[in-house]
Point group: C2
Chain length 252, copies 2
DNA sequence: CGCTCCGTTGAAACGAATCAATGAAGGTGG
DNA sequence: CCACCTTCATTGATTCGTTTCAACGGAGCG
């Protein structure tokens, strides 16, 4: 409730014109003609700020310039689940192409800077340029792949909660280093699909074993873990029992 | 092992020319010029037949004309998970646009008829026509949405195994009727991420309560359940405990 | 007819959820 | 500047659900 902040936290300051990343994603040498009146604006969000609410009419898509954003989706019974996290360079709500209402609620984790692109503008460009379309298609496929990766790695009791937590932590690595995005306990629980208390226990255990240690932290937001990646990878590889009995023979 | 059948089970008989569905997906009035030499061929697969293996080089995409296909993906520890099922009208491995190796292993559940489209052909058409590209993009986004839907509904211990099974069964409805695709116990377990034995127990319970009954069955393949949809929807709506305490306030 | 594969069912062991209490951290106001 | 308050993380004891092990029954097939 402390975080029920207004949709757009920071003021839009400056246009997308100088946004190299924008060009990078939508196509390098595409002159979008998005000048002063294009409507695309940069916004800042603080920890917990919501970019948009699920089920609301889509008015814009968001290009993430920095920070990470959690995409929350509600199940039929009201339980909320984080189905994906957006990182720098990702586009939120490409789905606007096939839907007029938001699929998820998007919430900033840490400080986020995003370029807000009005949906008409986005649709126009997508419809108008085969090059942009291809980029967007590639993005969408990458998203699909990651969603499926999460599905197969992070869920299901085939692997223990500890194994899945190790995998999640590896998924949240900043780049290739040993720094890991430190989400709240409840957030990690909402991804892996286990109880927050259990998450806490596992994190504690990892810390006792020195697989994890607090990295540089300045505020409530923007926190990191420092991890023993090799050790986590070992745990992530752990099997329930026999090598691969169940579906090892893929044809079933 | 009984099902380790050759990649292409049935013989290709006939061309895609007469395939109305093909046109439906890739664009109604698109003249693909896929005549005799187009390379697109219809193939039939029996229960358990594999369309293609994960990690193999992508040589074709598959348009499903009838039947259902399970997409199996392996986790880091070798455990296999069904991340999606394809139904009539779906395209397998759109990912070929961004990847040169198959993401999944695709296996027929029941009798399947699929149009095999060589990947060069597919890529050429996608690159060449903005209209086709848009269709493919839409398909990809639909797939993404469904994957996320599975993720949020079918996984995680927030909901009991019984609840998730009810949801899965509802996901497997043939159309809007009360007929449900009857997968094998192991298959359902591989989707929901629980033990096959537990699945059996739950299905048994549903049958005892008459929420489920065997529908028309002729062979080992192509089986259906007949379901009390309303009852299943009730169970699917069931909550773990308090209405929505955990993340009810989406900003967390 | 006997084989194997799949589904079913029971009893016991384990893991994770739950309840509940304590502790640390940040923010606010005295 | 310190005390208070709220929020979030931690930890223990207990309960519950699911997994596991194992045995049985039925269906399809050689």
């Amino acid at each position: 409730m402390s975080n029920t902040s207004p949709p757009t936290q920071g003021a839009g300051f400056g246009d997308c014109l100088d946004c190299e990343l924008y060009g990078e994603v939508l196509g390098e040498n595409v002159s979008l003609g998005h000048g002063v009146d294009s409507g695309a604006r940069i916004h800042d969000y603080q920890y917990g700020g919501v970019l948009y609410q699920a089920a609301a009419p889509v008015d814009a898509v968001y290009f993430i310039r920095s920070g990470i954003v959690k995409m929350v989706k509600a199940g039929p019974a009201g339980e909320q689940r984080i189905v994906r996290v957006l990182k720098t360079g990702d586009i939120a709500e490409i789905e606007s192409i096939i839907s007029d209402t938001f699929e998820h609620t998007a919430i900033a984790v840490g400080t986020v800077r995003a370029c807000r692109i009005p949906v008409e503008l986005f649709r126009k460009h997508v419809a108008g340029s085969a090059q942009i379309q291809l980029r967007v298609l590639q993005k969408s496929l990458t998203d699909l792949r990651e969603a499926e990766s999460w599905f197969s790695q992070l869920t299901g009791n085939a692997a223990s909660a500890r194994t899945r937590m190790a995998r999640l932590l590896l998924c949240l690595r900043v780049d290739a280093g040993d720094r890991i995005h430190r989400l709240g306990i409840a957030d990690m629980a909402a991804i892996v699909g286990i109880n927050p208390v259990t998450v806490s226990r596992i994190i504690s255990e990892f810390r006792r074993q020195e697989f994890l240690s607090k990295g540089g932290l300045h505020a409530t937001a923007q926190r990191y873990f420092r991890a023993n990646v090799a050790a986590l990878e070992n745990i992530a590889r752990e099997m329930p029992k026999s090598p691969c009995s169940d579906l090892s023979d893929v044809a079933n």
